[in-house]
Each structure stands twice: as structure tokens, then as C-alpha cells.
Symmetry: C2
Subunit: 244 residues, 2 copies
């Protein structure tokens, strides 16, 4: 229970709230690329906070490449292509459609990465993956633990590709999905237990051991479609259903 509290405990600090407000205004199109933001002083008056708070908020947006501040002139909204970071709005994930899209992206990333992992994995990778698999179905089967193991399983496979960017991207997407499901479980007691299909994981692992890229990719694809279904999201993937 304390784990939950710790996981939630993201205190809403003032700079965070100001940044979120401005961020939404930009994403929603109320502030178009090229538009100039109000001055720091105007913002501090508008939100009723000190200029320091405004500056911390702007520092964050600037680091993300959402705005560009120029000394003596002001701060301007940048085009979406110029973003220096990818950030996913967790509020938006409460919408099932968005969840579906995220699962689709995950499937694309993980399926082909599984094929790469099958071709490149070494014994150390296999050991790590096996360890996660064991934890998943093992005695530590209280919910948080097995979900952690599930995520670790996927991360270790991503690591076995030897490509750190793939690892980063997959970890990130999986974590967003995990957080969103975690939240949904808390607000909707019906989904109290998240069912983890161990069989699907075993098939992926076996394909990796065999070094069979095609089988690994197919197994991963089937697994993610299954995982999506189990949380109430049905994937409209073209490939997943028929091809191959």
C-alpha cells in the first residue's frame, strides 16, 4: 500500500502547474508556433506566483523545445517538429482511443525488436530474461511484483537488441502503459487483478533461445495484442491478425 502512495506521490509544485498550463495551451493550438508568450512579469501576475516560479516553468518548456526565449525580446512558441523531447500526456491516456494508439506503437516497436533480439542475444541476455520470466510466474505473484517482472522481461529483451535507443523507447512506452493501467485499476475496482499470461511470455522466450527471429516477432506480436485485449483494448493492427 505504501508502494502505491510512493508511486502517486508526485506533489504538484507551482512551476509544474504553470508549465502544464502553458503546455496545454500550446498543444491545443491556442498558442500557435511563432506566437509570443506573455512576459514573465505578466505571467507571474496572471498566475499569482513569483517570477521565479514562472522562470522554472519556462525553463522546462524550453528544455523540451516547445518554446524559445530570447533575451531582450521575449519567448516564442516553436513548431512541433522542433521538440527536443518526447513526453506523453498521461491525462490523455484515460481515453481508450489513445491507449489503443499507444499499444499499436508498442507493438510496432517490440515485434521487430524481438526479431533483432533473437538474432543478437547472448547467454547473459537470456539469463536476465529468464530471471524476469521466473519472477513473473514464481512465488512473488502479488500484483505489483509480477507486473514489475513483466516490464522487466520486456526491457531485458529490448536490451538484448544491443541498441540503447530501442531500449529507451520501449522502456518508455511500456512504462506509460503501466502507469495508465495502474491508475485505471485504482479508479475502477472491477479490474483489480491484472491477468498476466505466462504462456505467451514463455513462447517469446523459447523463440529467443532458439534464435528464431520470425518466431520471436510473431510471438511478441501475439502477446501484445493479447495484453491489450486483457485490459479492454482491441488492436486494429493489420499485420497482427492475418499476415504471415
Amino acid at each position: 500500500m505504501k508502494q502505491r502512495l510512493a508511486a502517486i506521490g508526485t506533489v504538484e509544485t507551482l512551476p509544474h502547474r504553470v508549465a502544464a498550463f502553458l503546455s496545454r495551451e500550446i498543444e491545443s493550438g491556442e498558442l500557435n508556433p511563432g506566437a509570443r508568450l506573455p512576459t514573465e512579469q505578466e505571467l507571474s501576475e496572471k498566475f499569482g506566483v513569483s517570477r521565479n516560479v514562472v522562470r522554472e516553468a519556462i525553463a522546462q518548456l524550453r528544455a523540451d523545445g516547445m518554446i524559445e526565449a530570447r533575451q531582450g525580446i521575449g519567448a516564442f512558441v516553436l513548431a512541433p517538429e522542433q521538440r527536443a523531447a518526447i513526453r506523453i500526456d498521461r491525462e490523455a491516456l484515460k481515453d481508450t482511443h489513445n491507449m489503443e494508439r499507444l499499444f499499436e506503437l508498442r507493438c510496432i516497436l517490440e515485434a521487430e525488436s524481438a526479431a533483432l533480439a533473437a538474432a543478437r542475444r547472448n547467454q547473459g541476455h537470456l539469463d536476465s530474461i529468464k530471471a524476469a520470466l521466473d519472477r513473473m510466474g514464481g512465488e512473488e505473484r502479488w500484483e505489483e511484483g509480477s507486473i514489475d517482472a513483466d516490464l522487466l522481461f520486456h526491457r531485458e529483451i529490448a536490451r538484448a537488441t544491443g541498441n540503447s535507443y530501442i531500449h529507451t523507447f520501449i522502456s518508455f512506452v511500456c512504462e506509460q502503459i503501466r502507469h495508465s493501467i495502474h491508475y485505471a485499476r485504482m479508479t475502477n475496482p472491477l479490474h483489480d487483478l491484472v491477468e498476466i499470461n505466462v504462456g505467451e511470455h514463455v513462447r517469446i522466450y523459447q523463440a529467443l533461445v532458439a534464435g528464431d527471429a520470425e518466431a520471436a516477432e510473431a510471438a511478441m506480436r501475439a502477446h501484445i495484442v493479447g495484453a491489450a485485449n486483457r485490459v479492454g483494448v482491441k488492436l486494429p493492427l493489420s499485420k497482427a491478425g492475418g499476415a504471415k
Copy 2:
């Protein structure tokens, strides 16, 4: 020429430098997850800047989920899988190996997305893609313009998938690659002209028009492997070469 200056003009502000320093220290493992950062005062003394600057730097790291600050206690390094944002170190991309990995990720993302786009595109999407294609080979063939069109071409295809996350991820990865190549061109006059293969793009476009998912995926895969080769990166993709 002014375009270049505008593109480069990322002023190194003090908070940015402090954030970069701490970020590297975390990524490199000198500060492990769970470790506590020095206090704001200590950091401000160490870097010779005001506490305000340190706070802006920390605000950025916190927004990225790299650290967690708790009032009255201090700031602590979070585990990599808790990151709230994906950010790519542009310095690291000067290493060809990293560039290769990024191209590999791009290939995974774009190949399958091209298949999705072929299945879901409507006439509006095709028009936008065609417009980018025309700009690429058209009269506006000075370097910056055709590179912009190239990127736009890929972004429009991503948009045709109807999945905003796919669009975001692909835009981001392409932009990182573009920036890195841009930089390489400036420091190495040998690669002054970036060759853009229009034929490869046309084949992708034709597959999209035909609604042929398999052909679109194959064409996209071939194109990205080709593009990587033209900037001196050879992709070791398993699928790209042989498997159909």
C-alpha cells in the same frame, strides 16, 4: 545562411549547462538511482552560480523524471525506467555507432508505419504526401529546402497512420537525425551536398496510392537503408537485407 545561424542559435544558458552536467553524471552512472544529489547550495557553490540557476536546472531534470526532489530532504536520482520524457543526447550522435543505432530504430518505426499508412490513408493524406514529394524534386532544390521537404514527406506518411503517437515518435527521430547530419555537414565540408534519392520516395508514394501495405513497407525499408548508406552509415538490419 541566416537559416543556419537560426538553426544553430541555441544559446548555452547557465541552467542548461548545469542540467547537462548533472544529466551526464546520472547517465554515466556516477550518480546511481536512489543516490542523493548535493544540496542546492552546495551545487550553486560548486558551479559558481546562484541558487536560482541551480533550481532551474533541477526543475528540468525533475520534469524529465530523472530526479525527484522532496521538500525538507533533498533531491534523489530516479531509476531510468521512471523517465517521463525521452531525450537524445546530440553529442552522442557524433559517434557513428550511435547514429547507426538511431537509423535502425527509425527503420523499425517507419517501415511498419508505412504499411499502416498504406492501409489507412485517405485522399487528403495522399495529397499532402504528394505535395512534399513535388517540393523535394522540384525547382526549390537548394539543400535546406529539399531536406525540409524530405522530412515533411516522412512526417506526412506518419500522420496518415492516424496514430498521433506514431507521428510524434517518427517526427522526433527524423529530426534528431537531420540535426546531426546538418552538424556533420558543417564540420566536414566533404559532405557538403546531401543527396536525396527521389526515386526511392516515388516508390513509397506509389505503394501508398495503391494501398499496398507490403510494398510500402518494403519500399520504406529500402529507402531508409539507402539514406543511411548515403550519409556513411551501414545498417546491419536482419530484415532489411534478405528476409521478405
